[in-house]
Symmetry: C2
Subunit: 352 residues, 2 copies
């Protein structure tokens, strides 16, 4: 069956999605019974929509050639908001615009609009989730819409699949994770003897760190992920500002060496715990042993650990394929779309 | 809503299930909207059934006092098969009898019977899955029944949640895992300098190894798990005899010391890979690095790693709570029951 998606934002993730659909769309259709059609893309310069589906390769060419999807034939600089969503006839909104931790706009407006029109929402951006969790879930419940966001919490970690399905019925008391790849990469380079500045530069050269690495190195991105995870796992209503936050700027090569001398390492760890009905969350550098579920990781690996009664410590990690953040995150968005399609009965291949 | 379960077998897992329902049944009902009722238990000496629900504590007392559930008031030595299933009015069969790798009986007979009567099946025993995979899945498809078996593949590892949901749309090329806790415990003790015999004895004293440890130390249990995992993940039709199998009897303390001298360790690893349409599976001792996803583990920990294009290496591990195999496996059976209840719309708490 066809699943039509409207995309807000056409950065790394949007382009990754177009790339995967161009390369593997036929395979997905054969294996999963789902044909994913991009029926609209909105970016800063305008939008393009076609309810019959846009050619993903043409979208990529337009973006590369002109800097915006508006350069594709049919692109309209004025197309936005309601008119854009209408023109796409989409079943699912994929919110993949640049994350905005102050207002969550323009994504948040699109999200509300989409749900009111009966669309489900898959998130790659964190703004709406980190700022408006309760309201978002309430709206989804009222409209009987599904909201999925695997891509926002350290893609492609299977953290929520574990918390919500494999640990159903257990009592999750706390979690911890390395959920920001950029700061992890910088700490790994520093553990090899480099300065913080060299670490940042090297991560930038690898295309992992942004020109302004603030969101990563000061722990904002990790704090947003911890917020989303804590709100989901503990049914809490944290805002990103509720997370106690220390980034990696203060970590020195000397501290890393001292840790190493004791068979340890330093990682930027995000954590939350529930105690007596309140949830406390924190992001900060922590010493970890080298055989620890998080301490053993390096480079841009990510890891997540849940503590659950009566089972113990359940961990997961992703050691990367080198295929790059855009493709990895896009694949994680697709996983939400495919699982949604199965759940909604859109997939023609029956669930085993 | 009520979910009625019929139980074949009342060993560690069955008793664990009764213990969890006695202790936490009310909690499950409040949190998940599902009241799980044991409406029948069959063991070697007979069976007891009550479609209104048996008291889990009374079942445990009867088992402890008399060695069988048949000692409970209402227990019938002759009650078995169709008559037993009828008397339970159960929605779900929980197949938790001693695993039989030769005929899978009496479990396999119960399973077919249950599906023909419209029951779903949750497995704790591996026999039917390791010997009759294709037939079982075909029967489930024809009768539109669900077959769940998280507890049979190294409970409580979330291996299938990751493979089937988090990696949907990716191409899984291979997997590997430490899926047998007993042999892992023995190797861990041996890595500390003990002989194989001492390792076995210690695992027996801890209640991890059976009096006859053959199924664990010769790799049969791991091979059965690899068979089930490979058949599910690769849609293969392996039998347990298709798995190349070397156990841990041949591992010496000297080899473990030699590995340690090189910063490595030896683990019993089960693995399977798909290449050009064929699936090869193996269980054997392997050298692993100490920061490796599997090599870092010890004691009765278990771990599982999937290799998936385009994402890379996705791992998961369980470091135990010390609550014991019976409770852990029973909790994993309950997870299948709870997820089934959600899927079937039996749970009154809506899926988020």
């Amino acid at each position: 069956m066809d699943v039509r998606i409207a995309l807000t934002g056409f950065g790394n993730v949007g382009q990754g999605l177009a790339t995967l659909l161009a390369r593997r769309g036929k395979e997905y259709q054969e294996q999963l019974g789902v044909r994913v059609l991009i029926t609209g893309v909105a970016d800063r310069a305008g939008a393009v929509a076609d309810s019959a589906g846009l050619d993903p390769e043409a979208l990529l060419r337009a973006k590369i050639a002109g800097g915006s999807v508006v350069c594709l034939a049919g692109g309209e600089p004025e197309l936005a908001g309601t008119a854009f969503l209408d023109a796409t006839s989409a079943d699912v909104l994929v919110e993949a615009a640049s994350t905005n931790f102050e207002t969550a706009e323009p994504g948040w407006g699109y999200v509300r609009n989409a749900m009111e029109r009966g669309m489900d929402v898959v998130f790659a951006s964190k703004g709406s989730l980190a700022l408006h969790h309760r309201e978002l879930m309430e709206l989804a419940r009222k409209r009987d819409r599904r909201v999925l966001y695997s891509a926002t919490i350290g893609a492609p970690l299977p953290s929520l699949e574990i918390a919500e399905r494999a640990l159903i019925g257990t009592t999750i008391t706390s979690f911890e994770g390395i959920v920001n790849a950029t700061s992890h990469q910088i700490l790994t380079v520093m553990a090899g003897g480099a300065s913080y500045e060299d670490g940042v530069r090297q991560a930038q050269e690898m295309g992992i760190a942004e020109t302004d690495p603030t969101l990563d190195v000061d722990g904002w991105d990790a704090a947003a992920k911890v917020t989303i995870l804590a709100n989901t796992i503990f049914d809490a209503d944290l805002k990103i500002s509720d997370v106690e936050r220390t980034g990696i700027r203060g970590v020195t090569p000397e501290e890393l060496r001292a840790a190493e001398a004791e068979g340890q390492t330093i990682k930027l760890v995000g954590r939350a715990e529930r105690q007596d009905g309140t949830v406390k969350a924190r992001v900060s550098p922590e010493r970890r042993g080298l055989r620890d579920a998080l301490g053993r990781l390096s480079g841009d690996d990510m890891g997540f650990v849940l503590f659950a009664e009566p089972l113990g410590k359940i961990s997961t990690a992703v050691e990367s394929s080198g295929s790059g953040g855009g493709i990895t995150t896009a694949m994680t968005v697709l996983r939400d779309i495919f699982n949604l399609a199965r759940e909604r009965g859109w997939a023609s291949t029956p669930r085993k």
